[in-house]
């Protein structure tokens, strides 16, 4: 009926109508959304379960050791990895270090300000760090030995004393990166990776984009061959050695859903506007490398209560989405390697 009315209206009336819709949105934003959602549609034209167009480009930065730019709709997150040599800590002589950080500079949205990292940035950094290094290392000290982490020094926990070095066979506690692989000479030399994700444009769902960028950059990372010179005890570049890539046996991706209007609607991949009005959110991180998907985290930081059935539905949607992200990464890496040849 509305479309007939629009068709009948001349251009002046159409402009009037658009202005009215804009006014209505300003005055009753939630009601404006409800009108769309009751028709199983969102104001940006997507269905409720539809994610925005997603793209990933590997190594857009020439100056970082590895980098990746992930875009989900307008949301873009750039991740750069810097590798430095460091001395392993005494507690974990066989491990390297990874320092993961997600920052929201003032340019990314009106709500982010200059200054100490916001609550959102801290929570996201913590989540990403946990995924990258896994449970064991996440609960121990994670900062590099000499250089403190740039913005958010991750606090060491009391669990250190009982901490055992990870055995990768110990399924269930691994992270994306196996810290054993970052060790060059046990107890003497290791890599310290600074994984910095910067949100360039926060148009909603920066979590999914951040993880995609981090995963993309880790896959692109090539570490030069370095050996410890026995005579001088100093590390040196070994021109005859092979540069190494990380193994990365399993790659998780994230899918975020927004609970809207109580939990009447579940919106996949919320925009910034939807995030501002949502009553809760669920982020599901899983990997689909094996037949049965493995959940890395189901993160629901409060908000409207959700039944287990509804959560199960979110998870099955997330798995479908993660399969497409996995294919996207594989395609991007394949095109990257053909370009190299």
């Amino acid at each position: 009926m509305a479309s007939e009315a629009v068709a009948a209206a001349d251009s002046v009336e159409l402009a009037q109508l658009q202005r009215d819709a804009e006014t209505f949105k300003r005055v009753h934003p939630l009601e404006y959304y409800r009108r769309f959602l009751s028709q199983q549609l969102r104001p940006d034209g997507r269905g409720l379960e539809r994610f925005r167009d997603t793209s990933l480009s590997i190594n857009p930065l020439a100056t970082a050791h590895a980098s990746a730019l992930a875009k989900i709709g307008q949301t873009s997150v750039l991740c750069g990895i810097k590798a430095e040599l460091a001395v392993p800590s005494l507690q974990t002589p066989g491990w390297g270090f990874v320092v993961t950080n997600v920052t929201f500079p003032p340019m990314c949205s009106a709500s982010s300000r200059l200054g100490p990292p916001s609550e959102q940035a801290q929570a996201l950094s913590r989540l990403m760090h946990g995924l990258v290094v896994g449970k064991q290392a996440a609960s121990s000290t994670a900062t590099a030995p000499s250089v403190p982490a740039p913005t958010t020094p991750l606090k060491s926990q009391s669990a250190q004393a009982g901490m055992a070095e990870s055995n990768p066979a110990d399924a269930g506690a691994r992270g994306i990166v196996d810290l054993n692989e970052l060790c060059i000479t046990r107890g003497e030399l290791c890599w310290c990776l600074y994984v910095d994700a910067v949100c360039l444009d926060d148009a909603g769902n920066s979590t999914d984009a951040a993880l995609l960028a981090i995963v993309g950059a880790l896959h692109a990372l090539v570490l030069p061959a370095v050996t410890l010179d026995a005579a001088s005890g100093k590390p040196g570049f070994n021109p005859s050695g092979n540069s190494t890539q990380l193994t990365l046996p399993a790659t998780p991706f994230a899918a975020t859903f927004s609970l809207f209007d109580g939990n009447a609607f579940t919106l996949a991949d919320p925009t910034a506007e939807e995030e501002a009005m949502q009553s809760g959110a669920v982020t599901i991180v899983a990997d689909v490398s094996s037949e049965n998907p493995t959940l890395w985290t189901v993160h629901k930081p409060g908000g409207t209560p959700l039944s287990a059935t509804a959560l199960r539905q979110c998870i099955s949607q997330a798995v479908e989405r993660i399969k497409t992200l996995d294919a996207l990464l594989q395609a991007e890496l394949a095109s990257q390697s053909t370009a190299m040849e």
């Binding site: 609550e119 269930g172 506690a173 959940l295 189901v298």
Partner: protein
């Protein structure tokens, strides 16, 4: 049946204890302990709110999470955010618009399942303060441990101690609301299959019902008068 280092069964919680109204100046307070893990919460409000944080149609919930020693770090700020986001949906915020409700959690001791203990303590303190709520939160932590006797089956332990938590390959914390037992908060660390995840929820839901029953009993005792 394999019992745990402290003699508990895998699905057994530690002894709970609640002390109500332990602080004299706070509008409501409570100390919640799961044996050695213990958190003390003070609630102030509904009270005046800073104009920059004022919300026209509802109360502003502010949370503070204090570690046992030292300054609050990143993890504590993350806990703070979790507490706020988990408590907001159960507090009837529209009942007191343009006010603030401040929840301050002080960690007394961490022997595992600290976040669950903090959430339980906060929800008890809110009741003590008489803040209008639509439900009560009950939180439970679960840990998956590698099998002790070499079999490939992992074991699920409820309410792990710090020792068990360190040995665990996956840890999950859930908070349920009391009316429909639906999930308000979920956070997991380490990998789980989908079936393991929902089994964990099921077990946590049962345990949370026990925590709730204990909260109810404790409140009944507090409000009953001896004749």
């Amino acid at each position: 049946m394999v019992t745990r280092a402290d003699g508990r069964m895998p699905n057994q919680l530690r002894e709970l204890s609640i002390e109500h109204a332990v602080l004299s100046r706070a509008d409501g307070s409570s100390r919640f302990s799961q044996r050695d893990t213990s958190a003390l919460t003070a609630v102030y409000g509904p009270a005046e709110v800073k104009s920059s944080k004022e919300l026209l149609d509802k109360a502003t919930v502010q949370t503070v999470f204090r570690p046992k020693t030292g300054l609050a770090g990143v993890d504590d700020h993350v806990c703070e955010a979790i507490l706020r986001q988990a408590l907001e949906p159960v507090i009837q915020r529209t009942a007191n618009p343009r006010t603030s409700i401040t929840v301050i959690v002080q960690v007394m001791h961490d022997d595992g399942a600290l976040l669950a203990c903090a959430l339980n303590s906060a929800s008890m303190a809110l009741i003590d303060a008489g803040v209008p709520m639509s439900a009560v939160l009950a939180a439970v932590t679960c840990a998956w441990l590698p099998a002790a006797d070499g079999s490939s089956e992992r074991r699920l332990l409820l309410d792990p101690t710090l020792e068990e938590q360190t040995a665990a390959t996956s840890i999950a914390t859930f908070a349920f609301e009391s009316t429909n037992q639906e999930i308000v908060f979920s956070s997991t660390e380490g990998q789980l299959t989908v079936d393991e995840y929902f089994y964990t929820i099921e077990m946590a839901q049962k345990a949370a019902a026990n925590v709730l029953a204990f909260m109810r009993l404790s409140l009944e005792r507090k409000f009953s008068k001896s004749v």
